[in-house]
Symmetry: C2
Subunit: 359 residues, 2 copies
């Protein structure tokens, strides 16, 4: 078991990673606000792990809400059902909301916790690699709008994150790969050595090697926690965590949320960002090839669906939260391990990349 | 023109009060985040004042959204329509959302600003006395849930509040009285001299005397700003601002939101709180009578609808945000000018008050 602290002053919280944490009530207990607890999960995760969690909380006044599984349910309508449950159970301001599931459950439950009575206590129990290395850390919560991903949300930090590595054993290979996209991202934006390590150990991760997985979860959380501690509200450095996400969000939106996994879209988005970086003479050609190569070895797609036109990309990208003064800002690579938020890329080169990837 | 500063560190902001401020673009300009502006108003206020505001912003990229007027529209469905407008207009994170209207518009637009892209810039242009002395100050935003008032919301501070006293001239007398309920509340909880002043000057206020109105707006904002600066998230002193609100919210909920004005319900709630305080031997009998008397002179109701039963009160009060560890906490009076949050009132005396007021 390893613990990392996310340093946010009064709102600092621990990320605890290890095998079999889900059943450990004593570990959870100090982070509850009071006796009232609502666990929010989905119909894929609940049959596997909900019993462990409820057993560990059996001395509490406990309610559960099981949502349908899928990104297509990450919307205001589903959020409303969480509020309904909280009010039907007469939940007070001292209620703790626990998210048991992947990124969608964490985002939904976290946003509900941010808004219910203007903010209640929140705990993350992420059960996918993607959630454990990315979405459960950092306090971003949100739902999608039909016209844009994560457009409605809040910054709301959990009181703790417990990542049980045993839950990864039931993950589909496609979900594991999607999580690895974000892991590779940390190497690309700020840690050359970590990227090199991933090139050597990617097969171990795909074989669910527990020690290798624990290592990448801890390293990924360390990177994200450092960035978030320095820039909680994303006014600067935190934007670098969005490498591949502006292209990726456009792919998710254009294909309809839920058809492409977030990590899959980010994988393609990182290849597109690397390609633009190479065209601009920022990133060396062989480094761009290594990015693509590692993503392929991780079981990830590196080309988008051919039916998304350059215009589709630009329309969706114009709605991205990184737009400033009408200009789409992109995270680009100077090298493996070094990223930068760029506004002054030549539009013609962006067009070239979009045409190339649109086939 | 008078200016008050709400001291919240980096998020400090001015409250500017005076006649004819709405048309003053130069006054507004420093508080805008960028060129994109969405003004949210309602179909009562917009025909009267929207033109002045849009004329003062004519060099900006401006959109307007006119909502139906009324507390019954302060819900998630209406909130969604604001998000729809923001996305249809491709509004970026640098958009400024301006609320032009009373408390409902301020709460809706403020909550939309809190959530859109996890928080955009927000300005309040309150046009009712209630909003100018209370809801526009302090950063609380929310929508109602069918099972509870203000149950879903956020703390989101504006970058400025501009209160144009000229807008009060078009206010219905009933709305003016509702605003005076909150003004009287400040005297009751923390300023004996202000309460005494109101006893002398209440008729001037009811006659829309501009100087008397400017005085009570400034004094009320000063009180609220002081309390909010010391306790932004309502962990202590700020709860005193809810004098009369726990009973009042129950009346609003039991009668259906929008039938009773918020200030009217708070007026009755303050009389109920004063009566309980008197029964407990905290508040002297003649002071309790003075509370009731001033509210009557201000044109406010002091008895609730007779068909709300004690059980109705307790059911709605149990959902109040001030419930802690299963116990309804109430703001009670020790004297005119001195309030206290109390959990250890005798249940039998609360029952007595509820039976008395239920007829």
């Amino acid at each position: 078991m390893a613990t990392l602290n996310v340093d946010l002053g009064e709102r600092s919280y621990p990320i605890i990673v290890g095998a079999g944490l889900l059943g450990d009530g004593a570990l959870l207990s100090p982070y509850l606000a009071g006796d009232e607890v609502l666990v929010v999960s989905n119909d894929t995760v609940a049959p596997l792990y909900l019993d462990r969690v409820t057993a560990s909380l059996k001395d509490r006044h406990l309610s559960c809400q099981i949502l349908p599984d899928g990104e297509q349910y990450k919307n205001l309508e589903t959020l409303q059902t969480i509020f309904d449950t909280l009010l039907e159970n007469h939940c007070s301001r001292d209620t703790t909301l626990i998210a048991l599931g992947g990124g969608v459950i964490g985002d939904l439950a976290g946003f509900a916790a941010a808004c219910y009575q203007r903010g209640i206590t929140f705990i993350q129990l992420p059960t996918t690699l993607l959630a454990q290395v990315d979405s459960a850390v950092g306090g971003k919560t949100a739902v999608n709008h039909p016209q844009g991903k994560n457009m409605i949300g809040a910054f709301h930090q959990p009181t703790c994150v417990l990542s049980d590595t045993q839950t990864l054993a039931t993950l589909e290979p496609r979900q594991l790969s999607a999580g690895l996209a974000e892991v590779i991202k940390y190497g690309l934006i700020r840690d050359t050595a970590f990227f090199n390590w991933l090139e050597v150990n990617i097969e171990k991760l795909l074989a669910f090697d527990p020690q290798a997985l624990e290592h990448v979860i801890i390293e990924s959380c360390r990177h994200k926690a450092q960035v978030v501690a320095r820039d909680e509200k994303e006014v600067g450095e935190r934007a670098l965590l969005n490498l591949g996400h502006t292209f990726g969000h456009a792919i998710e939106a254009a294909t309809g949320y839920g058809n492409w996994l977030h990590g899959e879209a980010v994988s393609v988005g990182m290849v597109m960002a690397a390609t633009l970086s190479e065209k601009m003479g920022r990133l060396e050609k062989d480094q761009c090839a290594r990015v693509r190569e590692l993503l392929i070895r991780a079981g990830l797609p590196v080309t988008p669906p051919r039916d998304i036109s350059p215009t589709d990309y630009l329309t969706h990208m114009a709605l991205d939260k990184k737009v400033s003064a009408g200009r789409i800002r992109l995270v680009l690579l100077d090298a493996i391990g070094q990223a930068r938020l760029v506004s002054d890329y030549p539009d013609s080169l962006l067009q070239d990349v979009l045409y190339e990837f649109a086939g």
